[in-house]
Symmetry: C2
Subunit: 409 residues, 2 copies
């Protein structure tokens, strides 16, 4: 971590001039009434950028937020859990617009400065009569406290087991700015985003163009490099708001580097938290594929390995099964020479030249590594300079049990 | 089924002039001594063809059998379970050659008329001192009986729970020929083959060229249209031997059609048996994607759906979750209009125009369908004439449990 970055506690309210509030509208269909709507607001219109799901099937709030971001600014984000407002057609689109209107009226901001994020069950219309009073209530109860930020991070949880927040204070010369955020996501996590939502706020003054460019680059290296189950959702959204409250203007190359480092740190923290909270998972694996002909080949192979049911089951069993890894690499669709492949677990060679290379003692050491909560796997194809890195998980019986039905969301 | 086809009992010995034998060599590392080597032999050199894995990582027996099939004929197939002889480098290639040599000597046939199939754990050298006497023993005990064929079908099982055989008698004018076969496979099953082996024998007289063409076409419609877990193995092999014992020469267009129908029936039976025996699976789903821009688009989308962990988990839970199906279609990489999609379960609409279309009563009927052992799902994109069909399964906790480690194979 660069020395001008300091980790601080907090989330969306860590930066100055942001506040949040949550309410329980009863959107989640079962169980006790839980907080399911949150509002994040900036005291002043903020520069804003977003990255959205690449799924052809895009939820209404994704379409609306993308449109509202065309002006490069935003004042508030409304987030609901329990219902994704995806595959809901024209009525769904109208519902997202009505939500934005309600927030705009309550906060007295233009409607195209309101962004909407939804997560939860697909294909069910939003219960607007429950949601609209909730937005009104939230707008009246905005608070700039860490507790309010944590409540917002909890409010967007669906199958998540813990709230996910990260924040940093950044020194730029003699000045300081802050950046922080929250995210949710545990299943349907895949490269190119997932059933994940993320809102990041900063009090730095950043141009919309630089904000958009920076977010795209950072998401490519963080949220787009994680996979739990290979499913890419209809609702994935990462939003960043920069409201200039700190008076730190990001203009020089040094300042730009500092801002991007800080944005990267927040996104890296939150994406790692998502993988670590992967539904039913028991291990986090840092998978690196190197020596490919190109970076895109390396990505193809890394994704085939990280999304292979058999590889993931072996990891769940603590089995350092390099054969399944090599098999998955072989059907990825990118060329390499199987007889040159080297596979290591935490630096210990499991295979070289495409063959196993450990005696019983070495295999026992490999099994100890594969039984850990976290370990690294490096697949070196020895065929070029292409490299890719993914954070991924195992596939457990618990994952299946949790996903047998969505009726509980 | 065409009227000139009659299903009969039997497998690789159903056709005249074929025999088989099995032995227990102790290749499987754990448990009681089980039959793990089998030999299928033709009384006379047979026309032969094969289809092999598309995985870049190909097991030694695949490379050897492909080479030995260049002459278009074969007299015997040696199959072992418990060890895939994959990722075993030069020593593995030599081991496959030594196995072929041993069988050629014992049967007094040219070595390039012997094909080898291996299945089991990847990355472990074959125990040749155990296997060679086994081949010798098997060559001495060849029998042309149905019982011997069933024993061979059992001998190649790894995680399979039942032996898989199919056979037909085919009327061509006043003559008759027979065709039969056996297969193994339950995990690592995917389009473009899997950890599956299949040997088919027929006493028709077929030219090597027509045999190769027919096998390629039939495999494309049967074994390449099934998926259990989306993993494509290093060892997948389908071999067909035609020894002309029946004196029925396949030459006219009518005879060729009859032969292809029969070959298709055997392959369709065996591929369906593989899906039905999918590791830990509880349901078989016949998935059709239609209305795509092209057949290849339809295939891309069908595979994304059939290999989606979340879709498969929902099926395991008896949840007719059309939202997850639409989501998976959306990230398949083939264009379509989400607002036109119609999804049906056994003919009952779950979604139309990209949205749910059932009330509580209809949803309850959908749930009853999704709780069955077998049902069909049709995804109509209403955007063209491209169509694809896959047989697939659900993803259960048992699948994960069975694949936590391979040490038990």
């Amino acid at each position: 971590m660069p020395s001008n970055l300091r980790r601080i506690t907090g989330g969306v309210n860590a930066a100055h001039g942001f506040s949040s509030a949550t309410t329980a509208c009863g959107i989640k269909r079962t169980g006790p009434l839980r907080s399911d709507l949150s509002l994040v607001a900036s005291d002043t219109p903020a520069a804003a950028a977003g990255v959205f799901t690449t799924n052809l099937v895009k939820a209404a709030p994704v379409l609306l937020s993308r449109r509202h971001l065309e002006n490069g600014k935003a004042s508030a984000v409304v987030l609901n859990s329990g219902n994704a407002n995806a595959c809901t057609g024209e009525p769904g689109m109208r519902a997202a617009e009505v939500m934005a209107n309600a927030a705009a009226l309550a906060l007295d901001v233009p409607v195209d400065e309101v962004l909407i994020c939804s997560t939860g069950r697909i294909g069910v219309q939003l219960p607007l009569p429950k949601i609209l009073p909730g937005i009104e209530t939230a707008a009246w109860s905005l608070q700039a406290t860490p507790a309010a930020a944590t409540n917002a991070a909890k409010s967007i949880m669906t199958s998540d087991s813990v709230p996910k927040q990260s924040a940093y204070e950044v020194s730029v010369g003699k000045q300081r700015f802050r950046i922080g955020g929250m995210a949710k996501g545990a299943g349907m996590i895949s490269p190119n985003m997932a059933t994940m939502l993320c809102v990041i706020t900063t009090d730095a003054a950043v141009s919309p163009a630089f904000l958009k460019k920076s977010l795209g680059e950072v998401v490519g290296k963080t949220f787009n490099c994680i996979t739990v189950d290979g499913d890419c959702s209809t609702n994935d959204t990462v939003i960043v708001l920069a409201n200039a409250s700190s008076d730190v203007a990001i203009k020089s190359a040094v300042d730009k580097k500092a801002f991007q480092d800080a944005l990267h740190s927040v996104c890296a923290d939150l994406s790692r938290a998502i993988v670590a909270d992967g539904e039913g998972t028991s291990r986090v694996i840092e998978l690196t594929v190197k020596g490919a002909r190109s970076a895109s080949d390396a990505h193809l192979i890394a994704r085939a390995i990280a999304n292979s049911q058999l590889v993931k089951c072996a990891w769940a069993g603590g089995d350092p099964n390099w054969g399944r890894i090599l098999d998955a690499a072989g059907y990825a669709g990118a060329p390499f020479d199987p007889d040159k492949v080297e596979i290591t677990y935490d630096g210990l060679k499991a295979a070289e030249k495409g063959m196993g290379c450990q005696d019983a003692k070495g295999e026992s050491r490999l099994r100890k590594i594969a039984a850990k909560k976290e370990f690294s796997v490096v697949v070196d194809l020895h065929g070029g300079k292409g490299e890719a890195r993914l954070l991924t998980t195992d596939l457990t019986e618990d994952y299946v049990r949790l996903n047998l039905t969505e009726f509980s969301l």
